[in-house]
Symmetry: C2
Subunit: 297 residues, 2 copies
């Protein structure tokens, strides 16, 4: 008992250290979820606030444990059903159509050399309309397409994107300085963000606001919006316009603020859109063969 009594201050000291450690650990493990539940925006506005913000949307990862897997029914259970008789083609025509569509899409390439020539606005409206026909989890249609035609805004977007690219590249330079010098300028400077008549910034709505003001997670929002981008790419190819798929991860929040989008929207893709420049080039790459992407059972 006497020994224990003398050790009391030691116990108190250990207890203090331990409590401090718990508090530290707890704060660290809590912070991602706290940011998440707050919508993840506007919390960390100090010192390079944009870098990690996009990483807070783990919608696809936590997954809809109790959600239905079947997008068609979810959220539409209470709607009446109506007959659906889609267009049907004779086998031969079907085969022809499948060949032509493949041939059309197979000519598509990601193009960085975009002509500044104007493109009719109505065409852009229609390709966005086409993109908006994509299926989405619980029919939430969780996409916003911000079409930027204004030169000043395009230039601001370019500055933000290039600034982040520069940071990326400079960090990378530590590793393989000389080898990357050649690549550096090509990748970092993005003329096409000024040149293209339109920039389409595709935002995913990570959650919605219910009538009672509560947040409703949009499950599968990233998958849904990516599918929608697939339709957009097909629609652009179909009218003879080009683009390059880019995912400006770290600039998302800055661009969101610039374009005054609400906090529930996160930038998923940035697509410069226009005619190909007359001197456009693309890397001489090939696509995998059918047998390398398909298995038949």
């Amino acid at each position: 008992m006497a020994l224990i009594s003398t050790l009391t201050p030691v116990f108190v000291a250990i207890l203090c250290v331990v409590v401090a450690f718990i508090l530290k650990t707890k704060r660290r493990s809590e912070s991602p979820s706290a940011q998440k539940s707050s919508g993840g925006v506007g919390k960390r506005t100090e010192d390079r606030p944009w870098v990690d913000e996009d990483l807070q949307d783990d919608t696809e990862i936590t997954g809809p444990e109790n959600e239905e897997n079947d997008w068609a029914e979810t959220g539409t259970e209470d709607l009446p059903h109506i007959p659906y008789t889609p267009c049907r083609y004779p086998e031969e025509e079907m085969l022809e159509r499948s060949k032509h569509f493949y041939a059309l899409l197979n000519k598509r390439r990601s193009v960085r050399f975009i002509s500044p020539e104007p493109v009719p606005r109505e065409v852009i409206d229609n390709v966005i309309r086409a993109a908006g026909t994509a299926p989405s989890g619980a029919h939430t249609e969780p996409w916003t397409f911000v079409v930027v035609a204004d030169d000043e805004t395009k230039h601001k977007i370019r500055e933000i994107v290039e600034q982040e690219e520069e940071i990326n590249y400079k960090q990378r330079m530590g590793d393989k300085w000389v080898h990357d010098l050649r690549r550096l300028r090509t990748n970092w400077v993005k003329d096409y963000l000024d040149m293209a008549p339109y920039l389409i910034l595709v935002f995913k709505q990570t959650y919605g606001i219910m009538p009672d003001g509560k947040k409703k997670t949009h499950y599968y929002n990233e998958i849904s919006v990516s599918i929608s981008c697939g339709l957009l790419l097909a629609a652009l190819q179909n009218v003879g316009l080009v683009t390059v798929t880019s995912t400006p991860l770290n600039c998302g929040p800055q661009l969101r603020v610039l374009l005054r989008r609400p906090a529930n929207e996160k930038l998923l893709m940035l697509l410069p859109v226009g005619y190909a420049a007359t001197d456009a080039t693309v890397p001489d790459l090939t696509r995998k063969k059918l047998e390398d992407i398909m298995a038949f059972v």
Copy 2:
């Protein structure tokens, strides 16, 4: 001092509780990263092993800190460039094409009532070819389309999917038992998995194996494969076939094993494909208007 001495056993007790709590907290916060760094596959094969495996792919979340954002250049820097002169249409034709394509896609609906009538295999080949033209991060083409025509395999797939759905629904029943009864059967029983002439199971390749045997993370694999699915949906609609987009989250690993796909592939989507049944119905829903999905700057 005397007071402190009498309180010593209390301090000791508190210390014990606190240490136990730390250990518990630490173990919990360590486990996800431990799974992550081990590649996330084949570790937890006991007691309902399939449930969480899909959740371990955090490719999209950790993000390519040092990767380029521009998919066109990444991984293709060393390829020679060749001229690219895509098809160009007069403005009027362009506008017509954009209208027609939108009209085509706007008729697409997710359909659960699929006719068992056979569909030419060559058409399926061509829609998969079309899907394979999607852009992908670093041109990794991280997709595998498993086309199942074999009746027995289709039935096994149905059993796996319905079993997981049943678990989902039974868990949900705890909350709102009676209300869900009506919905239950409709959603849980998936006839179309037997009926449809083809099931297309779309796998994302979360990493690749380099020549030296090392793993190479496929950044943006989920986005790339989802874009590819968008092209697939457009291609199916173009030939008059129907499907329903489903994301059988929890059955992915079981289906992967059934279809003998390698460990780097994760199921992203399951699409039953065929003609619409003559009595097919769809929920009477509408799509958002252009002004609700587009902002113009």
